[in-house]
């Protein structure tokens, strides 16, 4: 579905991504793990067209994405649930969800997807009229995911959805990830919480200072000694 080929990104003098290759097949959960500053968010930002790569290609269904603007990429069916949730705190929950559907004009479809989002996150339905900024972190994360789903994506990318959430909520978020995937969504998940994300992922990549140092099926990476050592906090 999406192929990243020899992607290089420079921020001024900093070489943030050094020729990474990632392959995202349809209907899979792919995860990208790594420490702070490894280049995870940069990868997502490049796919969305927010950051322009200095070299390399990103192909979506055989089409080069790097030449498009963010807006066009969203319309092609790729959405990013950004790090830190970034919900519109001055808007109500319902308005946030409607903004997710900003690029759509199929009224029936929007209504149906709203119902679907409420089904996934019953708590959002209770807070329809509440300003998004007054909700808890977990609820805001649910709203951010719901808002992303309202764009009717084919590829859903999440940047650290578990960041700053209580363990119980982290579990809930990952359950939702599984549920959305079960319904046929392709997901690219970026996490520092390596254990939780490798458990749900079909395939994982480990990113270190802009280079992919390891890759393999999620279960295999979980058993890998280097991963255990560096990311799972287990001694050899």
């Amino acid at each position: 579905m999406l192929h990243i080929n020899n992607l290089n990104v420079h921020y001024g003098g900093i070489h943030a991504l050094r020729g990474i290759n990632i392959d995202i097949p349809e209907n899979k959960i792919i995860t990208l793990i790594g420490a702070n500053g490894a280049g995870k968010s940069t990868t997502l930002r490049s796919i969305m067209g927010i950051t322009k790569p200095s070299q390399g290609s990103i192909q979506y269904h055989g089409e080069e994405l790097t030449k498009y603007k963010t807006k066009d990429i969203v319309e092609k069916g790729i959405v990013l649930v950004p790090e830190g949730r970034r919900v519109f705190s001055n808007l109500t929950v319902e308005e946030n969800l409607l903004l997710g559907a900003y690029c759509r004009s199929d009224k029936e479809g929007i209504k149906k997807d709203m119902e679907w989002v409420y089904e996934l996150f019953p708590r959002l339905k209770e807070r329809l009229w509440q300003k998004a900024g007054t909700m808890s972190g977990g609820e805001q994360q649910m709203l951010a995911v719901g808002r992303g789903l309202m764009t009717k994506p084919k590829l859903l990318m999440m940047d650290e959805p578990s960041l700053g959430l209580a363990p119980l909520l982290v579990k809930e978020i990952f359950n939702i990830v599984r549920e959305i995937h079960r319904q046929g969504m392709t997901i690219l998940l970026i996490e520092q919480n390596a254990k939780a994300s490798l458990e749900v992922a079909d395939y994982g990549y480990v990113l270190e200072t802009g280079t992919i140092v390891l890759e393999g099926p999620g279960q295999e990476l979980l058993k890998n000694d280097e991963v255990k050592n560096a990311y799972l906090g287990e001694a050899k």
């Binding site: 970034r86 808007l91 308005e95 900003y102």
Partner: protein, 298 residues
């Protein structure tokens, strides 16, 4: 002062306050979305009055109802042009650069106006329906002083509806909060910002035409003082908040008129009222009457 005289001043103050409110909204909307004080806003107001003047001169007085909308449309496009030429290229620059650009645009428009329109004041043509005098139980009202608040309220209702109930208005509120998250929702941020300038300019144009009908003297620097006062109105109300701009506009307009009415010996200090009010507000409540406390959430 008799009750009649008081009512007389009240209608006068209400119509001046309406004009201030309309122009102040332009400042506050642009600030809300760009965090920029658009110093050229007063000059856009001036351009609108001049275009209305020339349109009436060209089309004839009886076709004022065509001339005024032409001026409004022209100002709408002019506001968007200013944004595109002077502010959009600086979208990723420090805020101070954009501010300097705004001051530059303001000087450019003012001096261009002196060259193009001439420095000598012109008399704004007033269609007869706007300067009829009505006498209601001892209070005499010029019809324009009745039209101004009515038109202002109608525009305000339209604006509030647009911002709160339409998809584009929703996008506008989203953009004012977070550019990048808005882009991720496929919102064309540049388009929304440009539209905001357009709307602010339309309100300034309507304000400018009504200003011309009330104070029919046109000169290239006529936007300066109203521009400053309306900026103060926006700050007094709490900049970034539309309700605040309206409130600030009315406080300023009514205050100015009432000051002169109650203390005639202070007439010469009429313009100082706005600045004193600004100083007082900044000392007591720096975020303005409607402004929320600034708290940076990390």
């Amino acid at each position: 002062m008799t009750f009649q005289v008081f009512l007389q001043h009240l209608t006068n103050g209400m119509s001046l306050g309406s004009l201030y409110a309309l122009i102040a909204i332009g400042y506050t909307m642009v600030y809300g979305i760009l965090r920029l004080i658009n110093f050229a806003h007063g000059d856009i107001f001036m351009i609108a009055t001049y275009v209305a003047f020339y349109a009436v001169v060209l089309l004839g007085m009886q076709l004022w109802w065509i001339a005024f909308p032409i001026a409004i449309i022209f100002t709408y496009l002019f506001g968007r042009l200013v944004e595109k030429a002077a502010y959009r290229p600086l979208r990723n620059s420090p805020r101070i650069s954009v501010l300097i650009s705004a001051i530059g645009v303001s000087f450019l428009i003012e001096n261009l106006a002196i060259v193009v329109f001439g420095g000598r004041p012109k008399a704004f043509p007033i269609p007869p329906m706007f300067n009829k005098v009505f006498n209601i139980s001892g209070v005499s009202i010029v019809s324009i002083n009745f039209f101004i608040p009515v038109i202002t309220v109608a525009l305000l209702i339209g604006l509030v509806y647009f911002i709160n109930k339409t998809k584009t208005g929703m996008a506008m509120r989203a953009v004012s909060k977070d550019y990048e998250a808005s882009r991720l929702m496929a919102i064309d941020v540049d388009k929304i910002i440009s539209l905001t300038f357009g709307i602010g300019s339309v309100l300034a144009a309507v304000g400018g035409i009504m200003w011309g009908l009330k104070f029919p003297k046109l000169e290239p620097l006529m936007g300066l003082m109203p521009g400053l006062k309306c900026f103060i109105a926006a700050v007094v109300g709490g900049i970034g908040d539309i309700r605040g701009a309206v409130l600030g506009g009315f406080i300023l307009g009514l205050g100015e008129i009432m000051l002169v009415a109650l203390l005639p010996e202070l007439t010469g200090y009429r313009d100082a009222f706005a600045f004193v009010l600004l100083i007082v507000i900044l000392l007591i409540k720096p975020t303005g009457l409607m402004g929320q406390k600034l708290s940076e959430k990390v």
